[in-house]
Amino acid sequence: MIDRRNFLKLSAVGGGAVFMSGLFGAAQAVGTGYDDFYFVQLSDSHWGYKGPANPDAQNTLRQAVAHVNALEVPPDFIVFTGDLTHTTDDPAERRRRMTEFKEIVSALNVKTVHFLPGEHDASLDNGAAFQEMFGATHYSFDHKGVHFIAIDNVSDPGARIGEAQLAWLKADLAKQAKDARIVVLTHRPLFDLAPKWDWATRDGAQAIELLMPYQNVTVFYGHIHQENHYMSGHIPHHAAKSLIFPLPAPGSQQARTPLPYDPQQPGKGLGFREIEAEPKEASYQLVEFPVVKG
């Protein structure tokens, strides 16, 4: 008999880690209208970054695009969870970087890509350039029985979601059944992962409170440039690797400086993930990939 408790299991399969997340036993309550699918999460490409943490920065995003295109079965869609570009004080340069980024990712074979902003894209102009180039900074959509919600916790430079967006989130959630399959996409962690490194959302607890009554919620985010898995109550939060440079484990040292570049292993610590959704079981299988196909 399957235990109905929260289930989290990490195991190694082939060259990549597989992470399963979800509620066992939820399938019995589900009706029709669900269909398995998978999507890809890319994050933190910081296009425009120049520095010692990644001397190969001009190529990393293109390599990731090539690897995604080489996947045996194309994903239904791709989500890009923020920091598409590296910040700049110059509004024209910001738009130039976003234009170049769009040109590079236009080579993806998968044409449905959902973009979210990171603080490097949006915090210095409250999301103005991002909205011009990519559209809304928060939104929701449905795919094969799963309700996706993109939350913007970066257009406010103080890392607040804000009252207006929280009201929108509350209204959006109100249309969902309590056992709906809900995936939240965002950039910063919604919980206090490491506030002393600014790895938090100032009013993230209010968003989590709104999500809590829903039985099947999973959060995917970026920002911290590494894989991380955390439970707040029954809600799993999964951070993705970056496509520029890895950062140290949360709060593990005084400063959040990038891990040193290793010329012997240029893509070390970088990557993207597949998320295989099984809406009927309310479970997600995460498969991690390196930037360059091995």
Partner: protein, 118 residues
């Protein structure tokens, strides 16, 4: 009986002195901190455990934030206008403070340490 003006002037300074003796007013230690892209100056502050201090922060080029998460202290800084934050740390240790209002390409390095000693 009405007090003469001369006698009142003589007593007045004594009264102030007595009040000061009865209720000593301890002047708060003020530490001035400048916040600019992308550093706090000073970025190392030594305090004594239990010591009440005022951090007077002035942002010179951007409305930076100031946060000491482990001490549950934060403030929004205002450009050119000192903002005062009162602290009285009750435990020894090292506590990171940071700018928590994204300010640009060096934002991630804009941090410092408060060292609290016995």
């Amino acid at each position: 009986m009405q007090m003469s003006k001369r006698r009142f002037l003589m007593l007045a300074p004594l009264s102030v002195a007595a009040l000061a003796l009865a209720k000593p007013v301890k002047k708060e230690k003020v530490i001035k901190i400048e916040a600019r892209k992308f550093r706090f100056a000073p970025n190392m502050i030594e305090l004594k455990k239990g010591e009440a201090v005022v951090l007077e922060l002035t942002a010179v080029d951007f409305p930076h934030g100031f946060s000491v998460p482990e001490l549950k202290v934060r403030a929004d800084l205002v450009m050119g206008k000192p903002v005062q934050v009162r602290l009285q740390p009750q435990e020894e240790g090292q506590f990171t403070f940071l700018c928590d209002n994204f300010c640009g390409s060096g934002h991630e390095e804009m941090a410092g340490t408060i060292v609290v000693k016995a």
